[in-house]
């Protein structure tokens, strides 16, 4: 993973509509804006509820940007791509 690579972890709740949208939105964003500079870990809280409890993830979907210090969280379907890119400090217009 390069120095500029972004690590994402996405908590989803099974196959719920919000969760499916979030996965799709994140993948689209990454392939467009961060090609080859990202990793995505998808965690299903139904499969590992203890992780959700430990990590304090109660609203799904929740995106955690692990590569930021401290890690930042975004709740929701990520339908507004600008929220993610602004948090990553990327100027959407320049991309």
């Amino acid at each position: 993973m390069s120095k500029n690579s972004v690590a994402f972890r996405l908590y989803v709740a099974g196959e719920s509509v919000n969760s499916r949208q979030a996965v799709a939105n994140l993948e689209a964003l990454c392939s467009e804006c961060l090609p080859g500079r990202h990793t995505i870990e998808v965690l299903d809280v139904f499969q590992c509820p203890e992780r959700a409890m430990e990590d304090g993830v109660f609203l799904t979907p929740t995106l955690v940007i692990l590569s930021m210090d401290p890690p930042r969280r975004i709740v929701g379907t990520l339908s507004d791509r600008g929220v993610v890119t602004r948090m990553l400090g990327m100027d959407l217009a320049s991309l």
Partner: protein, 575 residues
Amino acid sequence: MATSTGLAKSPTGITGLDTITHGGLPKGRTTLVEGKAGAGKTVLALQTLVNGARDYGEPGIFVAFEESTERICVNASSFGWDIPSLDEKDLFLLDAQPSADLVQSGGFDLGGMLAALDAKVTAMGAQRIAFDALDIVLGLLEDRNAVRREVYRLHDWLLSRGLTAIITHKAGWRGPESRTTRFDFMQFMVDCTLLLEHEIVKGISQRKLCVVKYRGSSFDANEAATVIGRNGLEVAAFGPESSAYPEASDERVSSGIERLDTMLGGGYHRGASILLTGAPGTAKTTLCGTFVEAACLRGESILFVSFDSPSGEVIRNLKSVGIDLRPFIEQGLLHMRSTRTTVGSADIHLLRVKSDAEACQARCVVIDPLSALSKAAMSYRTQSVVERLVEWSKAHGITLMSSSLLDGDHPDSEGTSMQISTLADTWIHLNYLVRGGERNRGLTIVKSRGTGHSNQVRELIISDEGLTLADVFSAGGEVFMGTLRADKERVDRLERQTAESESRRQKVKLDSEVLEFEARLANLQRELSLKKAEQSALASEEASESSERTAATEEIRTLRGADADTPTGTIGTNE
């Protein structure tokens, strides 16, 4: 507790709440607790879970959306609930506060929380769950439909898990007509709704709770006063059934005034509630004092609550009439409490009286004056507080003495603002009778249940030796007291003396008249017997004369020889 439908219930263990809900919250169903900020929703939810875990063997999970778990533990410890001492398997606190810098992009749901909780419920075998301030997280959802969707998701999960759930929710209650919040549908979803209210009346906090609905169960629909006290929430409800009362006692306890005991046929009944009414200064507190003294002399523990009058003053004032309470305090028999009415609502005061009395195991409780409570706030609430006070004292066999000022608007009526007279077993009224420039204290036993009692007004005499009762002087339909009584008694004595000497004089006169008549009678009798003697003498004289004349006639006839056998010699003697 049995209900008409046999619906299973989970007791909350909150004093009074299980009474008005006829057994507790619906088991395996959801209860909505609504109220404004500070109404006591969190306390109710947490208390139900703590009691469930500790006393009913029902493990629980508390999901906090508004406060950190540390703060909840601190708040709980102020009510004496030691959450850290409970096993985490029995009570689990989940900090589910959305972070303050929560960034949102698009729609979301509560799936993560339910998944996490589902695992936890299974692991713990939890039976109770509380979602505190669900409105916080619902407020983050994008629209009305999302809120509805998530609430139904939550509700379905709760039902499928058979959890007894409490959802607290901030909401203003503006009357049934105007309630149109986006969370209204929750009302229809849940099986039970409790409404908590907190308001400030005349500067004093007043709390109340109302069961708005309870599907499939009867409940008390009336508003009930609540108090958040040292042990958490307490709901004012009528406690034990009458069958739970101890047997009515025939034992008498002294009033501390011998003659009053006599008037009452031996004293007050043990376990009775005694009401003293009267205007200020009619010696109500002094009568309380004699009762306290008598109780302490019997070696009983007694609680004396004085409102708006420091204990020191009460003790000093009673000492001036010969009642020294200090030794009893030192012996640990007398527990004096002094409080200002304005420090809390009538319900708060009742709670304190009860806990103080139970702490010192009081057999008697004196509240002077009880009417101070009506000053505290809304009078309709005070009425219920007084009823509960009387009921509580009866259930514990405590002899309760309370004094009451008369209603200022009707100083002449023997009624009280709190209508407590109907609740009193013995009612003693003290009043001033003003006549001839003097005020004197009159004492009347208005009623005394289950005992014969004197119907007479007595004069209450207070000296530095203590109290006693004097017979009042009544004459010509009027009652006299004080100096007038003394005057009247003196006048009466003089009159009586005059009357006595007059009758003595009359007697002497009559005696002499009788004697005179008797003398005259004797004279007349003597004369009568003389006359009678004369009469009989005359009669015998007449008789001898006539017989002599007969004899002479015979002789003449013989002498004349008129008859053959008549000797002639007889006639000759007649010549």
